[in-house]
């Protein structure tokens, strides 16, 4: 769950003297949107984004191209002239949850990862975080989602996990969500099996209420967005 395991290590960087044309070409060629700006020793001094470049270059540059005169007037423009100098960075020891919160609060699309003396170690983007969370949820592997309604008291999750483990079923993930009733929680085990009917029966025999995950979802919706009730068999 650490950033150092999910970040991109081979970072494409520029230096402050790189021209904005070169920076633009680097981004286009590598299909990236963020270029950390580094000096000797890989020390981070800024970041330039595709948005910075779009603001610096005429709109026509990205469409039909610009005239030689315009090119001439822009060719001395350097990365140092347009980069963001106060970069929001995180250390490699941050967890991906930390990174998620930082991205949420700062509204950036990627975070350079720097060590304690400011040297660039990697970069983590929203894309990297999504991949990490797909991994955490286990949804890249075949499995089945259950939804169990439990009283909020100590030891419930242990009972559930033990019962499922005894049946030799592996977990892809377990999520716990608040239920509408404040004394209850909805537990969502993602089980790496097709054979869930037995698991369901066992949990019901233990006194747990199993919810249709869809019903849980619908009950979270505001009244006016809920689909009409359907007769259940």
């Amino acid at each position: 769950m650490f950033v150092s395991r999910s970040m991109t290590r081979k970072v494409i960087t520029v230096n402050p003297e790189t021209t904005i044309f070169e920076a633009q070409e680097l981004m286009a060629a590598n299909r990236i949107r963020h270029l950390p700006v580094v000096v000797a020793d890989n020390t981070l001094v800024g970041i330039v984004t595709d948005r910075d470049l779009r603001s610096a270059l005429p709109y026509r540059y990205f469409k039909e191209g610009i005239s030689p005169a315009e090119t001439e007037s822009l060719k001395n423009l350097r990365v140092k002239d347009i980069m963001t100098q106060k970069v929001i960075t995180i250390p490699p020891a941050y967890t991906i949850q930390d990174a998620l919160m930082v991205i949420q609060n700062s509204r950036v699309g990627a975070l350079p990862v720097v060590d304690d003396v400011g040297r660039l170690q990697g970069i983590i983007s929203v894309r990297d975080l999504l991949r990490a969370f797909i991994n955490v949820l286990g949804i890249g592997q075949p499995g089945t989602l259950l939804c169990i309604l439990v009283e909020e008291k100590v030891g419930q999750l242990k009972r559930i996990v033990d019962a499922i483990t005894e049946m030799g079923v592996s977990f892809g993930s377990v999520l716990v969500a608040r239920y509408w009733d404040e004394n209850k929680r909805a537990v969502f085990p993602y089980l790496l099996t097709q054979n869930v009917a037995q698991v369901k029966k066992k949990l019901q025999a233990m006194g747990y209420e199993l919810l249709d995950p869809m019903q849980w979802y619908i009950d979270q919706l505001p009244e006016e967005e809920r689909p009409p009730e359907k007769p259940k068999s």
Binding site: P142, M167, V196, A197, Q198, Q215, K232
Partner: protein, 316 residues
Amino acid sequence: MKRTGFLYDDRFLLHKTGPYHPEVPERLTAVFQGIEEGGLLDKLVRIAASPADMKWIHAVHAADYIKRFEATCRANKQMFESPDNQMCADTYEVALLAVGGILETARRVMAGELDNAFCAVRPPGHHAETNQAMGFCYFNNIAVAARYLQQEWGLHRVGIVDFDVHHGNGTQHIFEEDAGVYYYSIHQHPTFAYPGTGREFEYGRGAGYGFTKNSPVLPGQGDEDWKRLIERDLFPAFEGFKPEFILVSAGFDAHRDDDMSDIQLSTECYSWIMQQLVGMANTYTGGRIISVLEGGYSLRRLPELARNHVEILLNG
């Protein structure tokens, strides 16, 4: 009445899955019983199973995988690569018999000896990947049949309809780059159900892009939604593709009395589905359609579901 083949062999019962497993021999007994008690046996052309020619297994599965499966079985292991895949000493042979029986059925339909057929086999196949057993499946029966139709009979357009409540990940992946096989599947939404694939935005890859179509159905939905999606997604797909042969992965586990899913289909809806498929076969393939059993775990409902299924094939 159509000349309808019926593949069933007592040896399919030899594949045992141990306690706490829903994919049991009794499923097949229930299917057979429903057809027998419906008085349909005399009207059907019975087909017995014979082991598949290995070259057709190799047309779908990796050589290393086939070896692993055989070795695990011969070593009398009770599980193959995942606890879902419980097995016994006979499993490998039974899996070969199932494929062999289906290929013989396909041969007879292509040779004009039969119009259509239902293959009541175990183990099921649609989760089996080229190189991995998954979800009770070892050899991908329907995929081997499609490859056989392509390579032995030179068919250019094989349509596969998979109405098992679980997505046929194996079948989709095997043909995802093949524009000669259209894979359509309707199943419980992959966020809630095994195996977690078959999302609406999976359309195939490369040359096969546009020849895969998935209709995910949310938990709790029933006949109305299921029919609507088949009309919306499958009908136009096959109208465009114009299959020369239809293969059906027939799973009965979306029935409301089947505890493997949260979909609420009625017995009548299953008849409706099969009528549509036979109708499509009459329109596009000269009636050539073979249905192969996948899932379906309600021992109480399987007899009536199998009986209706076969009756619709007979009435063509």
